[in-house]
Every structure is written in C-alpha cells, then in structure tokens.
C-alpha cells in the first residue's frame, strides 16, 4: 500500500455523527438516515423559501405508465424558491432534487445546444434551459411536447422525429471530392453564409411539435427534416446531380408542398432558423428544376 493514513484526522467538528445502536441492520440504518434527511430537507426548503425573493409554483404534467396510482395523467404542483436568472430547467431540477426524485425529463448541456429539453411551457414549445422563469406568467405550466407519444412525465418518444430526419438522407454526399493530399473543397463565404442558419438545428423537435400539418399527417417530413435537406441542397460543394436527388426527396407527397406557411415552426425554433423560408425556397427550387426538365 502506497498511501499512508495519518494517525489522527485533524478535526471532527464539522460533522455531527449520530450515535447509532449497534444492533441496527443496514436496512434500518438506511431508513433512519432517510427519515433524518427528510426532516433536515424540510427545514432547508423552508429556509430557502424564506430567503428567496419570491416563490414560484410549477404545475408539471405527470404520467408513469407502469407505476400504481400514477398511470393516469395528472398535474403535480411544486413550489420553488425563485431567484433572478432561474430557468425553467433550473426550476425542474430543483423540484426533482428536493421534492420528488421520480420527476422525469431529459436534459444535458444546459446551454441550448444539445436539444434535449424542448418542453411545452405555458402553451408554447420552448427549451427549458433557455427560458427564464422571470419572463413567464406564473404559475408556470410545464408539459411534454404535444403531438408526440409520452414515455413518462415530460419525456416524449423521439423515434418518429429521428425517422423523419433520417428520411431525407441527412449526410453530405458530394458528386466528387478532391483527390490531392490535404486538398479541401472550396466553398465561398457567401455560400457558407447561405446555409449557416440551417446548420444550427439541434434536433430538439420543437418545430415538429408546433406544426399543425405534422399533427394531421404523420408521414409529413416536417420542418426540421426539410431544413436538413435544405442545408445539403444549398451547399455548393455537393454538386448538381445530388441536388436533383435531394429535391426529389422533399417533393414527395408528404414533403414541402404540405407546408401551409403558418410559420409556427419558425416562431418556436430556439435557434432562430427561418424554417418556413427554407421550406418555401425548396418549393421554388423544385419548380425551377421541374421546369428545366419539362
């Protein structure tokens, strides 16, 4: 053993070890700890609520398909101490870590790039991490994305969304690439600028959830997938043959022509991608190309 233990720990004062009867079983010990922790927590919550500027009430959609008493959808209320700068995601994390560890939602990066936490907040699709509690009407109502199957609480099944994304062949596939060693394809700054906004998509699914057409036509590719097609169709590096193929994909029965330019997707996109414009532009490109071959 390479590590030596100091003879004496320097201090004990910062802990308050509770003396436990030696006969306690591990189960009893855990239950005892849980009870103590619950009491301490109640006090902490009270203190936090006292200290906070205000308390905000969350009304959160709950549904757990195979847990007795929770299979019926319902709303739970959580009172959360509010501080300036608090996001919807912060509030949800507080509710989960303090009140109910079974409260379920996706989240990861906290900075609007992973696209995990698109939610239906006060009746609108938003990213939880990017939405300030202070900008919302209280109480704040949080639901899973509409028009998608709910797996549990705020988690929806993204499978259909991913399938639609994959349906547009969402990968760069140029007619040819340079064969010289270390030779890049050239792309003009203007062309890069043209596709720039379309490349910002984080696959959060907010647009698809907001779209009336997608709600009524399950096969509709949807704004995110069409935007992905736009990203490649407009990239001058791919070449004209590939562009024709891409236009054929989005021109299909459940493609661009379904869009009725209601702009709901554009309004909810957390990355400010002009989705409706991109769909319209693909319609124009499709017409141009069809005229050419007519």
């Amino acid at each position: 053993m390479s590590t030596q233990i100091e003879e004496q720990p320097e201090t004990e004062e910062e802990t308050e070890p509770e003396t436990e009867p030696e006969t306690q079983s591990p189960g009893e010990r855990r239950r005892e700890k849980k009870r103590q922790r619950a009491e301490a927590r109640e006090q902490e919550v009270e203190d936090a609520l006292d200290e906070a500027e205000e308390a905000v009430e969350l009304k959160v959609f709950r549904y757990a398909p195979e847990v007795a008493d929770k299979e019926e959808p319902r709303f739970d209320s959580f009172t959360v101490p509010y501080h300036k700068g608090m996001t919807v995601l912060d509030a949800l994390i507080y509710a989960r870590d303090v009140y109910d560890s079974s409260l379920t939602f996706r989240h990861s990066c906290r900075q609007a790039v992973c696209g995990s936490d698109a939610l239906f907040v006060n009746g609108r699709q938003r990213l939880g991490c990017k939405t300030q509690m202070g900008d919302l009407e209280w109480p704040v109502r949080i639901e899973p994305l509409p028009h998608q199957d709910v797996v549990k609480d705020l988690v929806v099944d993204m499978e259909h969304f991913y399938e639609q994304m994959h349906a547009v062949e969402p990968y760069f596939d140029p007619d040819e690439t340079p064969d010289g060693e270390l030779e890049e394809q050239r792309q003009s700054p203007e062309n890069r600028e043209k596709i720039k906004l379309s490349t910002r998509c984080i696959w959060c699914g907010a647009c698809m959830s907001s779209c009336n057409i997608a709600a009524g036509d399950n096969q509709y590719l949807g704004p995110a997938a069409i935007n992905k097609a736009y990203r490649f169709a407009m990239d001058e590096r791919e070449g004209t043959d590939r562009k024709q193929e891409r236009l054929r994909i989005v021109e299909q029965e459940h493609g661009v022509w379904r869009c009725q330019t209601q702009f709901s997707c554009t309004e909810v996109c957390p990355k400010d991608i002009p989705l409706t414009e991109h769909i319209q532009e693909l319609k124009r490109e499709a017409i141009k190309s069809n005229l050419k071959f007519w």
Binding site: S2, T3, Q4, I5, E6, E10, T15, P26, G27, R30, R31, K33, K34, R37, A64, E66, V67, G85, D97, S101, S102, T104, R106, H107, S108, C109, R110, Q111, V113, C114, G115, K130, V151, K152, D153, V155, H166, E169, P170, Y171, F172, P174, P178, L182, E183, E184, Q185, R186, Q187, S188, P189, R192, I195, K196, T199, R200, I202, W203, F232, E238
Partner: protein, 609 residues
C-alpha cells in the same frame, strides 16, 4: 445479448470517429450511448480545431506548442502522432461536409488561439463542436452504423486475473433507459470507451449534466489505471452564474480582459508580457483569480471580457453564438457591454491510461477522447487541441480495434510501466467503504469463457439495480452536491494541502453516505433517478482520484498549482501519476514521461507566454 466486433461506448466526437474508422476497416461496429448521439457534449465545444494546414506552419511547430502547453508532461509519441495526423483529420471532416468558416478564396479559415505560435485553429463560427458532432453523426447514419441510443453502460466485463495486464475485456453491460432492460453487449474484438468528461465532480463547470466520468470510473474499477487525474483545466472565461463557456475564440479574435479598475491586467501585472490574453488557459485563469483575490475583481467575483471594439460585423461573422450565450445565460449584450467571466472547470487532462493506439493495459479495452489520457495534454491542454485529439485518437482506436496493422506503440501502460511507488499521507482511507454487502464494489468476474464473463457481469448489474430500486434510503442528489461543493471549494485553481485533505475527508464521507442511497422512483420506464444514482458513484471515484493525485504532487506544473510548492520540479516530478484500483483501494505509483518521440526529442524549458 447483443454482439458486435467492436462496441463503442459514448457517441460524442471520439466515439463517432472511432465507429466510422472501425467500420471503414471492415468491422461490425455499434455505438452504445446514454444520450442520443447529437445530444453529446462535443456539441458544446465552441472555439475550434487546431491543425497545421498552412504552408508556413508545420506539424513540428504544432507539436512543440502542444508539448510546451503541457508543461512537458505530454508523451512525445502521442504529441507527434497527434500533430502529424491532425491535418488529415480536418480535411477529412471538410470532405464530410463540415461547414467550416471560410476565407474569400473558399479555403478553410484559421484563427489565432492561446499558446499557439501560428494561427492554426480552424473553426465554424463559435459553434465548431456542434458542427463537428453533427457532421460525424451524419456520416454514421450514411454508413448505417448501429446506434443503441439511451442505453446507459454501467460496467465493462473483464476477466478477473490478479494482474490487470492479464485481464481481457469481452464487452459491456447496458441498461436501456426507456424500458429498464439490462443486457450485455458482447465485443468480439474490443470495447472503446469514449464517454467524455467528468465536470459533474465540480459545481461550477462548463460540462453537461451528463458528464459524470462514467468511462473513467468503469475502467478504473475494472483495473485500468487512471493517469494524471490532478490535472484539471479551469477555463478562464465562463459565465459566473451558470458556468456556460465563452469561447477562447473571443480572445483569439482580439477580445481583452479587464479588472475592476479597467486595467488590462494580463499585461499590466506582468502575467504574460508577450501573449497577454492569449497565454495558455492555466496562466489566464490564475491571473484572473489573483486579481479577484487581491480585490480587483468585479463584485469580488469576476473580471470583464470585452469584445466591443471588434465591431458588430466581425462579431456576427465569427462569434455570433457568443452573443446569444451572453444574452440568454447572463443577460448581457456583448455588442454593448463587456461580458462578466470567471474560471470554471472545463476539461480533464487526465483519464484512463492508454497508448497511442488507444489501448489500455486490459486486452481489448480501449479509450479515446476526454476520458482517455494518452498523454497528449500533460499538465495543461491548449485551446483547440481537444477536438483534433478526439479525431486523431478516436480514429486510431477504431482502426486498431478493427484489426488494422499499426506500428508498435512507444507508450508503455499498466503496472509494468511503473518506475516508482507513490508515497502520500492521507487524512482518511481512500477507496471503497468496507462493507461486504456493498453490491457495487466488486468488479471482474471469476469465470472461464468470454460469454460467461459477460453473463456474470450482467447478473452483477441486475442485482445492483434491483438493490437500489428495492431498498429504502437517501437521495443520491445530496451526496453528489456534497462532492461538487468540496471539489469546487478545495480542489480548485489554487491548491493547498489543508484544503486537499479536507476534500478527501468530504469525499470519504460521501462514500459512506452513498452506502445509504436508494432510488425512490419504482418505475422501470425512463428511471432517471436510477441513472443519476449510478452516475454519482462514478463522480465519487473520479473526484477522489483528482484530490488524491493533487495532494501527492508536490510541485506547480501546468494547471496544478500548490501553495507550498510554487515551482515546477523536474528533478522529482517529471513523471505521470497513476492510480490503480486494487481490491477496492487506489494504489498510487508513477511512470516516467516519454520525451523521445519517433522523430523529435523534447527538452523541458521554462514555460512563459
């Protein structure tokens, strides 16, 4: 049980690159990830990808900068391999459609970055990682590579030979988050861990909530040593309230740091008379905190990063994402006012000990990207070197696991590489809490056939999950918070013996508390309570390794600064810290730094910027 030639755990940049490389070398490869690939934290990388593309630049210069940045704790074969292969990887990305920022002639742009002797950083706005991640995921889709998404890997299945170098890895055990199913992934050739960072060991971090050091902890418990864990990068420009990263690209483009008196302190206080704001990250972070500690911080907490003078057009062209981040997460308009910034945990230089093919000392177990330690970054990583690292070493691990012919590695791994045992006085026992009933302590399976090794591991994990679900106890969140608080308080930029010992005591207490955690959500469907509880165990193991390594290393090197030892001590400390998990207890030892590469030999020099 699922079965493939190569199993890649984690689908961020390193995992995706490894999978593509393995696939191109004919392997049947699958990605297993606890998120969906596009949710991975590679997507949050902002600044760029370093590669010597310009005719006036050279891989030798890139290697030299990297070695200097590492404070001579990088291993030369890793550094040379990296610098030589980075240009190919960047061009490969371009051929895969990466939307790089461009020059007027249509070529990929390159900008200056900290610690670089040439403008070498390719980028795509200030959202380079997002584009890299999506570009590579697209190529995974194109190739039809199988992805098991939202499968949380909890254990690597290895044989139980006493000597880790005799162990073999045959797969991993995963938990499908949506269904609660526990199953095995049998790997005919190898398992590549690409699970990313461990920022959740700290409470002010740029890392995602998912970055819990899972790969590091799993490999460690299976017998692969952790290397140089004390070297943690604190990024100098994170937003004070959330830890959200403000790219080094801001300083690369000309952004300036000011203290409360509006002094340009990097120059005026002599922290970096040549490079100023573009000194290496460790240097800038220490300078900022010194200013704050000496009373020249703003609100006693942060400094200002000003980019207004760059002009709206340039900012919108190259740094637009920064405007959104500052606005959304700090309520500051970067076009109108300076942005508040302070250091935050950002990157783990240390990790699973591997060689330049990504092999750990366990046969068939690889690691790549942030969870691995080749060692490329040594004591400090340069900005813009993480993304090319995951490309170069992700690809190499993928190729090797797929059976490609590669040169013999020069970097030694495993207990045979030991040059001297470690010696450190600890305030408390490290390692597992002695409790025979602890179902999560034992690792390795005492069985004969490869399939049986995996079966055994699956059974162990089923029991572990059942126990956590069925028993009553405390919420893991309290335990995790305790670790995060002590790490941020005591194992930060400036380190003192007393604080490091306090951290070890707190971590010990956290381990004891962890004995009493339970999952109160009984659901088998999408039980995040269970996932987070298991992750917290990983956070504890990683935090302990960091604190332990930091206490042992009595010198100042790169990101590791000790109050009592404020200089680099090459005579004694030109060596890597290793921690091996032996029957639940970390064993500390050292191995020499390799300063001789295939083509270059490096001489430690004074490091100034």
């Amino acid at each position: 049980m699922y079965e493939h030639d190569v199993i890649v755990v984690g689908a961020g940049g390193a995992g995706l690159r490894a999978a593509i490389a393995a696939h191109e070398h004919g392997a049947d490869v699958a990605l297993v990830t606890k998120l969906h690939p596009v949710r991975s934290h590679t997507g949050a990388a902002e600044g760029g990808i370093n590669a010597a593309l310009h005719p006036e630049d050279s891989w030798e210069l890139h290697a030299y900068d990297t070695m200097k940045g590492s404070d001579y704790l990088g291993d030369a074969p890793a550094v040379d391999t990296f610098a030589k292969e980075a240009p190919n990887e960047v061009i490969q990305l371009e051929h895969w459609g990466m939307p790089f920022s461009r020059e007027e002639d249509g070529k990929v742009s390159q900008r200056p970055f900290g610690g670089l002797s040439h403008p070498r950083t390719t980028y795509a706005g200030a959202e380079t990682g997002h584009h890299l991640l999506h570009t590579m995921y697209e190529q995974v889709v194109k190739r039809g590579i199988e992805v098991y998404e939202e499968w949380f890997v909890t254990r690597v299945a290895v044989t139980d030979h006493d000597d880790p170098e005799g162990r073999e890895c045959h797969g991993v055990v995963g938990y499908e988050i949506k269904t609660g199913e526990i199953d095995g992934f049998y790997a005919r050739n190898g398992v590549i861990l690409a699970t990313g960072g461990l920022g959740q060991a700290f409470d002010h971090t740029t890392n995602a909530i998912a970055n819990t050091g899972d790969g590091q902890a799993m490999a460690y418990r299976a017998g692969a040593p952790m290397e140089d864990m004390e070297f943690v990068q604190f990024h100098p420009t994170t937003l004070p309230s959330t830890g959200v990263l403000i790219s080094e690209g801001v300083r690369g483009e000309g952004g300036i740091l000011y203290n409360e008196a509006e002094e340009r302190f990097m120059f005026e206080y002599g922290y970096a008379n040549n490079e100023g704001e573009l000194a290496s990250r460790d240097v800038v972070s220490r300078a900022e905190l010194t200013q704050v500690n000496e009373g020249r911080g703003i609100e006693d907490e942060y400094v200002h990063l000003d980019m207004r003078h760059l002009g709206e057009e340039r900012i919108l062209d190259r740094l637009e994402n920064i405007l959104h981040l500052a606005e959304d997460f700090e309520g500051v308009d970067g076009l109108e006012e300076p942005m508040p910034v302070k250091p935050g945990q950002h990157y783990q230089m240390g990790g699973i000990e591997v060689n330049e093919h990504g092999e750990s000392c366990i046969d068939g177990l690889y690691a790549a990207g942030e969870c691995a330690c080749v060692s490329l970054h040594g004591a400090n990583r340069l900005g813009g070197n993480a993304l090319p690292e995951l490309l170069v070493f992700g690809a190499r691990a993928g190729r090797h696991a797929a059976g490609a012919d590669m040169d013999d590695p020069l970097i030694p791994t495993g207990p045979d590489a030991e040059s001297e045992p470690g010696d450190v006085e600890l305030p408390v026992e490290p390692g597992i809490v002695a409790d025979a009933s602890d179902p999560v302590a034992a690792d390795g399976g005492a069985v004969a056939t490869p399939e049986a090794v995996l079966e055994d591991a699956i059974e162990t994990e089923r029991e572990r999950v059942e126990t956590l679900l069925e028993r009553d106890g405390i919420n893991h969140a309290d335990v995790r918070a305790k670790v995060q608080e002590t790490m941020t308080e005591n194992v930060n930029v400036f380190r003192q013996e007393g604080n490091l010992k306090q951290a070890l005591r707190d971590i010990r207490e956290s381990r004891e508390l962890y004995q009493d955690v339970a999952v109160s959500d009984p659901s088998r469907t999408y039980n995040t309570d269970l996932i987070h509880t298991i992750e917290t165990r990983n956070v504890i193991d990683c935090a302990e390794a960091i604190a332990l390594g930091a206490l042992a290393r009595e010198e100042f090197r790169g990101a590791h600064w000790r109050q009592q030892y404020q200089e680099r001590r090459d005579d004694e400390w030109l060596k890597h810290t290793l921690l091996a998990w032996e029957d639940g207890t970390p064993r500390l030892y050292y191995k020499p730094v390799v300063l001789e590469g295939h083509e270059q030999t490096y001489e430690p020099k004074e490091r100034s910027y």
